[in-house]
Symmetry: C2
DNA sequence: GCCGAAGGTGAGCGGGCGCTTAGCGCAGCC
DNA sequence: GGCTGCGCTAAGCGCCCGCTCACCTTCGGC
């Protein structure tokens, strides 16, 4: 019916926890609209329209337009954190876990590009209180990645001079995927995840970069994809 | 007088080529406002106010608010391209030139964060024609970096499986600096430039990563900075 | 079969938006 | 020393924004 289910609803992100059905439809419509045009350029009429409702219906389920963004942002950050925690706490060497963390984090940013865009780039549109709450989640994300890198340095697998700076760079690399990735482009989320895991292992000086990176993406081919053209940078 | 000169005007970016003085003041005010709040959340009244003029004055020098963004975006992209071309065409090995390209490109994104934010993140706010023109400049930016990497692969200095993908990742890493970097943070633009040059050389498998990266940033200390805390990610 | 709550609508409010227009002050020229 | 034209302002137009309110439907419980 509406395009909401095709784009944002079709992504891996479930939004299952958002409970009255109408509230969920509105939220998915908002994710789509915010990702496409940005928070400030999106009107409440547009959101309601995408969800197949009248403009006033929005205010039955949400107090303001900003509350919608806040809810999206919190759920998205919690999902991102969960992905990294899963990779970080599994069994295996720091090399394997870092490769797993990067490849799954990248897959989430690429496959759920619509959601990830809103989550990563609309932080400044939140008010001070909501913003502060989200920044707390971001610090946990940072700590999760830094933990793996520190462990790799301790075990001697990694050779990193500036752990904080390298952590920042690794996350930066993953997050920016949401800016440039397109499902119409030549690469699948899995391919980008495998490539980026390999690049990150090189960044931290892990010995068996190629092998561990491809193992983290299971049975996918990590080598150069066949398609010749890039999406815009 | 206005805050425009302190923030955007104080950056490395000259804007000297924007000729009537009033037009330049308006443009600098717009860069500031767009970087702070985003294009759509910025009002023409705000821009004019920052430049110390009445709202109507804007329309003497620019046809629309979008023309301001277009001009900023084109000048910024041309500057970015010039930086990369300078590094790419100097003497030296691919390793040295890649380190130089990355460190100077990162310095521009960090030091000129206000401008870089607008240039890198407000592309979608342009109309189709302006957008297409800017995308042409972006392809040239991409080609410049890809050229250095290809040369390093040919000479045997680099070991890269997916040249297109790695080019994308290198640019991605540099560009995302504009999102998180803060002058109030623990790192100077020079330190981030040196760190990132080192990380990129590792990504392409260059042998003497550390040495060439620090050489590219002249006499700066490339090792871990003293400050303990990170800016938000 | 009636009742109240839950969830929805159509119309519209106050206000701020991008942009226009009529007119003012003043430097440069004869 | 009056005239012209340019840079700028004050005022405001038409529009659409986020959000509200009075009212309407639907439906489970009795």
């Amino acid at each position: 019916m509406s395009t909401a289910e095709e784009t944002a609803g079709g992504e891996a992100q479930a939004w299952g926890e958002v409970t009255p059905d109408a509230a969920r439809r509105l939220l998915i419509a908002a994710v789509e609209a915010f990702a496409e045009r940005g928070y400030h350029a999106t009107t409440t009429r547009d959101i309601a329209g995408r969800a197949g409702m009248s403009p006033a219906a929005l205010y039955i389920h949400y107090k303001t337009k900003e509350e919608l963004l806040h809810r999206i942002s919190r759920i998205g950050h919690e999902k991102a954190l969960e992905i990294l925690r899963t990779a970080s706490r599994r069994e295996g060497s720091p090399t394997e876990r870092l490769a797993d963390a990067v490849s799954s984090f990248v897959r989430w940013h690429a496959g759920g590009r619509t959601t990830a865009r809103v989550v990563q780039y609309e932080l400044d549109s939140l008010g001070p209180d909501a913003r502060a709450e989200i920044l707390g989640l971001r610090r946990q994300v940072d700590a999760e990645v830094r933990g793996i890198i520190e462990e790799g340095v301790r075990s001697g697998e990694f050779e990193v001079i500036d752990v904080h700076g390298t952590t920042l760079a690794v996350l930066s690399l993953c997050i920016d995927v949401a800016r440039w990735f397109s499902l119409d482009g030549p690469r699948t989320p899995e391919e980008v995840g495998a490539l980026y895991a390999d690049l990150v292992l090189r960044m931290v000086g892990a010995a068996d970069a190629g092998a561990a990176a491809s193992a983290a993406t299971a049975d996918r081919v990590p080598a150069a994809p066949a398609a010749p053209e890039d999406p815009q940078t």
